[in-house]
Symmetry: C2
């Protein structure tokens, strides 16, 4: 059953038990930023998304780390109310990414990727996770995204991320994912590649015909576009004078989006628009710190206030 | 006297005589677009800006053309109510630009530029132009922009465009221009170069300290940002499924902006925000045609309707 098919009674009974399930990577990042170089920064899509989502809702995380992953960080998750039962600790090293950003932060180059324990990631959901109401499938192999979906009993809402690598190399599997999700969150290059059309508006129609009711196009500091049954919605990014590190901004956006929808439980499709503003606000906090440092103590009040600021940005 | 210093009486008396003065280039463009190649397309900043501004206000154009420039086009200007007294016809060839766009229209390469009669452009304003209330200084040598300003008696509002070439090569002259204008309209790369700061928010503060009360950052299909005394305003670009040719979109934006402010005569700085929406709407028509073909019969009603559509884009 999709959320827009729920009756008011359904909503009342399910809302109490709404829970966000987040699947993705946990990593060490080595970041070469215009402001300096940083080693062993805890990162990964599940890290950013979970920290953002927990501001709004109960969060359950599924990921894999090596035995070098600091317990202090898992404790930090627990302190934020994140359920870490599904974070598997394997013998070996944690996934590592090494990237260098351009001076204006507008592009980045991957210098090295070490998959390590992430190479054999096979997400198995703890029993306690199977009744999750809202699901975020981070950017992992579409086969694994499908395997996660099979383990969730009756999700009300499923969002997914993906990337060029899967679009080009695993299209049939990815199409199966697309047929089963509500919202796809990708950037404009990925939109063009997936639809094989350089025009975003046409590409969005094509992608929505593959399954997702909603497509969110992430454009970094150029904001986010939503294409869904309500039409087109544009949310600007807040112009910041203190960007430090864009790493994880997209995952923060996705996590905050899922968290809001989980807490909200509204079947109203227009609710997605307000959630996109909150997601953009959360992402703006993310880029103001190195790694997820600004997410670990991000408060709902702060994000809401910044969301209002974003709303005012496009008011005459 | 700046428009925001005008009393209501002043406005009533001046409004009737408000007139937009537009200075810039007129050209033949050879366009290599993803949809095909087009030769001898009439273009240039003054062409696009004048055609957009005349939808709203009385327009006076200053430019230079060669004796190869089609009279039919000048007649078209006259039909639209544009005063062409200031368009000088010189013996020789009209300015020509040859450019090629990327498949996704996001970038372009200049293949050839022939300045021709534009090389000796020395804008002399007809006497009848000197009482113009609103001025748009197109992207020409800052020295010429200054010379135009000296010939206008008491402009209420002056906007200017410029480019990398002048920012790098004619900074002292350009700074004199900046000290005398109300609004600067440039793209994000030019903002970064002019302020020597990759961060747009900081760069905007720096540029506004050089003189302009308002800075409008043109970002193409990523919209436009305004930084002024009222704060920050963001206007999205309408996602189109029928972009053909981005040539002149920025000049159309600038012309429509000037036209609205001229017609409006309001001293209220927030009025600039609404004018930016109208400007974005006009620019969206421009890119749907090759060259200025969609501007020659653009109606106020159509632009207004599209402006409303743009306003709805960011509504929750």
């Amino acid at each position: 059953m999709a959320p827009w098919d729920l009756s008011l009674k359904d909503i009342r009974t399910t809302l109490v038990n709404n829970c966000a399930l987040i699947v993705g990577s946990m990593a060490f990042d080595d970041l070469e930023l215009p402001g300096g170089s940083y080693q062993d920064v805890v990162g990964g899509s599940a890290t950013y998304a979970s920290l953002a989502a927990c501001v709004y809702a109960k969060v359950r995380t599924v990921a894999v780390v090596g035995d070098d992953f600091p317990t202090a960080w898992l404790d930090r998750f627990v302190t934020r109310g994140i359920d870490i039962t599904g974070i598997e600790k394997c013998s070996g090293k944690t996934f590592r990414w090494h990237g260098k950003y351009a001076t204006d932060l507008s592009s980045r180059t991957t210098l090295a990727t070490e998959l390590n324990v992430f190479a054999d990631f096979d997400p198995v959901l703890p029993d306690s996770y199977r009744d999750s109401s809202h699901v975020l499938l981070g950017n992992i192999h579409p086969e694994l995204q499908l395997r996660v979906l099979e383990q969730v009993r009756q999700p009300q809402f499923v969002a997914a991320d993906t990337m060029n690598y899967w679009i080009e190399g695993e299209r049939p599997k990815l199409e199966k994912v697309l047929a089963r999700i509500h919202t796809l969150l990708i950037n404009d290059e990925e939109v063009r590649l997936l639809a094989n059309d350089h025009n975003i508006a046409r590409a969005a129609r094509r992608i929505r015909s593959m399954g997702p009711k909603a497509l969110i196009v992430k454009r970094g500091d150029a904001g986010a576009l939503l294409f869904d049954e309500t039409g087109t919605f544009f949310c600007p990014a807040l112009p910041l004078d203190s960007e430090l590190d864009p790493t994880g901004a997209g995952d923060t956006f996705a996590g905050a989006l899922l968290g809001q929808l989980t807490a909200d439980g509204s079947p109203e499709p227009r609710r997605l628009r307000a959630a996109i503003r909150g997601a953009s606000a959360a992402a703006s906090f993310c880029v103001e710190g190195v790694g997820p440092e600004h997410l670990v103590d991000m408060s709902r009040e702060l994000v809401d206030r910044r969301g209002d600021e974003i709303a005012r940005l496009s008011q005459c």
